[in-house]
Symmetry: C2
Subunit: 172 residues, 2 copies
Amino acid sequence: MAENKAGGGISGEALLFLTDEQLRKGIEAMFFAYRGFTADPDRILEKYGYGRAHHRAVHFIGRSPGTNVNNLLGILGVTKQSLNRVLRTLIEDGLVESRVGVQDKRERHLYLSERGNALEAELSEAQRARMRAAYREAGHEAVAGFRRVLEAMMDPDQAAHFHAMSSKEDKG
Amino acid sequence: MAENKAGGGISGEALLFLTDEQLRKGIEAMFFAYRGFTADPDRILEKYGYGRAHHRAVHFIGRSPGTNVNNLLGILGVTKQSLNRVLRTLIEDGLVESRVGVQDKRERHLYLSERGNALEAELSEAQRARMRAAYREAGHEAVAGFRRVLEAMMDPDQAAHFHAMSSKEDKG
DNA sequence: CTTGGAATGTCAACAACGCTGACTTAAAGT
DNA sequence: ACTTTAAGTCAGCGTTGTTGACATTCCAAG
């Protein structure tokens, strides 16, 4: 470890962004930024008595209406029991509809109700507003770099989910 | 909401990165990337029976040796009780040393022990390795953009902590 | 010297949200 | 018929966040 100490002089400035200190700052930036990233939704969720897990479920159901439980499990990377607890309350509260599959009747297909869509829109707009402000402040090219680094940071399985998601509505 | 639908044609390509769809993808990229970001430390922590809260404490104590509890509370953004539970186990296990303040004896100054430093190094190197790989893959300019967007995404208070931290060892 | 407040620590209780393990039901595949 | 798959359920547990109440220690102001 510590093979890139500042001043080690591997190749001077060209690799300055790979010094331990620069990497550390990237790590801390991720930590602080993620807190900002979740702060607005957290405040909204609190009003309704929900948590982040509800947000994630609502987000990805809204993103892929009609998705089944197994697919959602793969995306979220949690256990069936954990997701089920969240899903049950959302269904009971009338935010999510669960419909038995047509081809395969074992499957449940998940949809947002009108109220579910309303919550999704409220959460999404808050999060997009912050993202929009950050993008505006950082600029077009910074955003491209931001996205490139994030994609490279994902685990391959998660990146697969991410890309599968993207190909639905966008080609970016 | 939805004021920037793709195809709305506000100004064509120049603002394409501010469409709702692009913002949504940024949001999802943050979600998936953050899981990758924490995956390696999580595996290491499990070996020792610790969690992410322990990681965060060890990280920031290692970063600012001699910091007091109040400062750490500000950085971490949790309650005294929550931090104390984590800190207590780290002190009991001999990873963190708590020394009574010299000027103000109410304060406790926190330091990593040798074993604490070893754990910090193990966690940090794992996380830096992933960050290094992502940085290499994305390239120098992408990293600059990545950092710019992250900083713009932080809450002002958190950004203050971030910058206060940075000025200790680095001028980036 | 006394008192107020700040810094710290501790106890209790609770909630969100992960986890494992065991089990059921229903439907599909073979 | 038998096995596998999808989903749901129950029970229990661990980490990490929360509030509220309270004790201790110590600095500093009156």
